[in-house]
């Protein structure tokens, strides 16, 4: 598992990357009430805003961690956005993407580095 400075976790699954947000990020956001996911089939560019998370406090964006295509989104979040608070690193994954360029993965943090990052 790799981590971005935007508090996303990236989990390789066969030739896909599964993306969600960390428990730290979910805690900071507070109670999540709405998640707007990209459409399956969308071609995305690294650092493009592709997910909007609304908590009771405010709206936040999630950036595409890599170039590639969105191949699956977690429809369960539409009916139950609170999953993001309950199980951020498990059932509340956001989308799966087929990356066209994996090289940024080398720059992302491993778990130890991410723990240092959030202090």
């Amino acid at each position: 598992m790799k981590y971005t400075e935007e508090h996303e976790w990236l989990l390789p699954e066969d030739d896909l990357i599964v993306v969600g947000i960390t428990a730290y990020a979910a805690e900071q956001l507070g109670d999540v009430v709405f998640v707007e996911l990209p459409e399956v089939g969308t071609e995305v560019t690294k650092d493009e805003e592709i997910v909007v998370i609304e908590s009771v406090k405010a709206a936040s964006d999630i950036l595409a961690p890599l170039d590639g295509e969105i191949v699956e989104v977690n429809e369960a979040l539409a009916d139950n956005p609170g999953l993001v608070n309950e199980d951020p690193t498990g059932d509340a994954w956001f989308f799966k993407m087929r990356p066209s360029d994996l090289s940024p993965m080398d720059d992302y943090m491993d778990e130890a580095a991410y723990k240092d990052f959030i202090g």
Partner: protein, 365 residues
Amino acid sequence: MTDTPKRTPLYDLHVELGGKMVDFAGWEMPVQYPMGIMGEHKQCREKAALFDVSHMGQVILRGNDIGAKLEKLCPQVFSTLPEGKARYGFFTNAQGGIMDDLIVSNAGEYFFVVVNAALRHQDIPHMAAHLDGVEVTEIFDRALVAVQGPSAEDVVGRLCPAARDLKFMETMLGEIDGVDCRISRLGYTGEDGYEISIPEGEAIRISRLFLAHEDCEPAGLGARDSLRLEAGLCLYGNDIDNGTSPIEASLLWAIQKRRREEGGFPGAERILKEISKGASRKLVGIKPEGRAPARQHVEIQNLDGDTIGEITSGGFGPTVGAPVAMGYVASAHAAPGGKVNLIIRGKVQPAEIVALPFVAQNYKR
């Protein structure tokens, strides 16, 4: 504001209770505690919640005919406000806009006024300049704590039994564990409850006595905002400001009959005209049909795609279980049941105009 944020007498308690502190109108205030905004909101609707509202301005007015003099600044009737009663009002400007909203209480020997935190610096000179022969004194040495929710009567009443007999918008001096407090049965959550003015040195101790009740938990500004929004109550700076008239803001109920007939307050020309002929826009409740919250500044369109207004307050309503919002629309579109579209991040989201409040007010009258 470049000053470092000020701290209320309850600051140390907020930190001890795990409050997440933010700068609000120049004050370091808890936006939430570990329970979270959703939980704190439901706590207030179902049991009781304690809010620190010490950032608001508490003002004492002393002199003769204070009520009548206040009527020169506000379109309310205060001259006959009975002793022990409180009334919601607002200062209007010459253009009929709202300078601030406030609560005025007749405390007998004096009048007690509470104004918004961000407007203390405006309101106090405004009163001092225009209330001839009235001594205007801002109180800096008392905390203001709100205990709100269906259990509030028991939380406060077991410490001060006389507070149980207060009705909505009544105020009294009462002793809580040996401390003289001003206890008023009002609030801004839509629930029954009290606001209690406490000497600063005793504020934490008295707050702990409230929190010792099994039904009472601390709540922050986040829950206060979602509670007042569901209750259809305006937030100054969002829903009402210097450019909005009370008629546009659907606050006609707060202008008593004599003032509607006689005028004699700043902006009366516009306000009386809007009372008789209607305002060009109205503040309405808006219920998005989907799950996406519509926040402040979201554009409101009619079904033909013409802009008809803007959201002024919006978010998720934990008791409603769905997004809720308020905003101004052209009066032709203000009737409940009307369908509109909201433009949220470039996407069209259907919504309906609804009557306010979203959650029935639960006052003890």
